[in-house]
Symmetry: C3
């Protein structure tokens, strides 16, 4: 299953090629899903904010995110839309992928869904930075946070361990810092 929060090229990546090769379903917001379908992906499932979509073994619910969302395809802007966050329920766990977003008050409504883990951007510049991400963890009332969207290019350079210390000082959540290629058993 490939779950997409928004249409930016650094998030869509090789979705089309991987979905064609593997037959994975691709679940995304509406315009992005239509565009992925137009590229010949048979398992594209367009949905939108507030909707819950079932996949083998779990579900994903689309929630708000404050960012932009469009895809640059050979110099043409396609798939314009509004980005989303994702609440994924799988294996008895509930995980919130914030996608790219700033802090927003309705993270409290997302917290009402009963989260086990939140994956939050901390890179600043294109998303919230570390201190707003700590406040997000409070709004979400979540026991554990994986920071993401940092250190992949210079504008979003951050120290995830400094974020982790700030998170654990100010909230009851613990930080889980993952290295590329590593994992965590929830």
């Amino acid at each position: 299953m490939i779950l997409l929060t928004h249409a930016h090229n650094d998030h869509v990546g090789d979705t089309v090629e991987i979905a064609k090769r593997t037959g994975a379903a691709v679940i995304s917001t509406f315009e992005l899903g239509e565009w992925i379908s137009d590229q010949g992906v048979e398992g594209a499932i367009p949905a939108n904010h507030g909707g819950t979509v079932a996949f083998t073994g779990g579900t994903v619910k689309f929630v708000p995110a404050w960012h932009t969302s469009s895809y640059n395809h050979n110099g043409q802007v396609v798939a314009p839309g509004v980005p989303a966050g994702l609440i994924v329920r799988v294996g008895g766990r509930t995980i919130y992928f914030a996608g790219d977003t700033c802090l927003f008050g309705d993270m409290r409504l997302i917290g009402d869904e009963g989260l086990d883990l939140a994956v939050l951007p901390i890179g600043d510049h294109f998303t919230m930075g570390p201190s707003d991400a700590v406040r997000a963890a409070e709004f979400l009332n979540v026991p554990a946070v994986v920071p993401c969207h940092y250190n992949t290019f210079p504008a979003i350079k951050q120290d995830p361990h400094a974020f982790g210390r700030l998170l654990e000082e100010r909230t009851s959540a613990r930080a889980i810092i993952l290295e590329p290629g590593s994992g965590h058993d929830l």
Copy 2:
């Protein structure tokens, strides 16, 4: 008068043809209104969130909605934008058309406008489903709800009577379930 919440083809429908034939004004968000005007509709009135537009006998105010909004015109994406909800004041009544949206906390601000009726999507998948729509009715502090955006295609199959029972159990609002072609005297 034709009032549009967003640019998706299943909501715009035959707006251009009907407006040309009848001379009806078309009130919508900005990019959509510009596009409708470009199609030769003389009464297109583009507006945007927070704005109130007067029409013969009433007014409509544009409020937020969480969804996407673009129009597919002969395979080209046009009129990209941000969707809206509508607060319509007519005949001494105030009616909120949520458009396509998920639940959001600022429905409380919409409730502050003093609603007589809310028309809320319950279909899930592309919008909120029944249980979030019940919570929306609480946020809106509204005495009556008409469910909409369900059973028109398989992904949004719902039982509106089950929604109505849930609404009346959990809130003081009553459900008004309309059949296509039927009406209700408010």
Copy 3:
């Protein structure tokens, strides 16, 4: 420095020409910044909601705004996105430019940033009108408000002095009404 809230033509104005002539940096949301860069502006800095960008002498943070955002370039819609508000910190002062927006509850989070001044639209039709702008000032907990986005075309005709009286009656903020070409020492 040129700071842009959204891609509408009446806000982008002569940005490209001025930036090329002066070498000013242009800080904006992502798609708009990419488009400005494509027009040959060397100092375009695309960012997005939640991000803070430093410039000579200050910083700007991107916050939410409810409106639409796209640019009409020779009849083609380009740079589709989501609009922003801006929190500008410069010379020891913190100023919130709401951009074009309706009232929203997360203006309380913007108020948490500690504002000295808010520049708020009052024109109605495309943005909030005077009474929602007064409520915005309450949410923002701001000591002074400059009204904007009015009287530049007929649909947004307003009396800024009537707004100022309403603001000062209902809140502890004072109104600062500027004439084109005039200034205010903060």
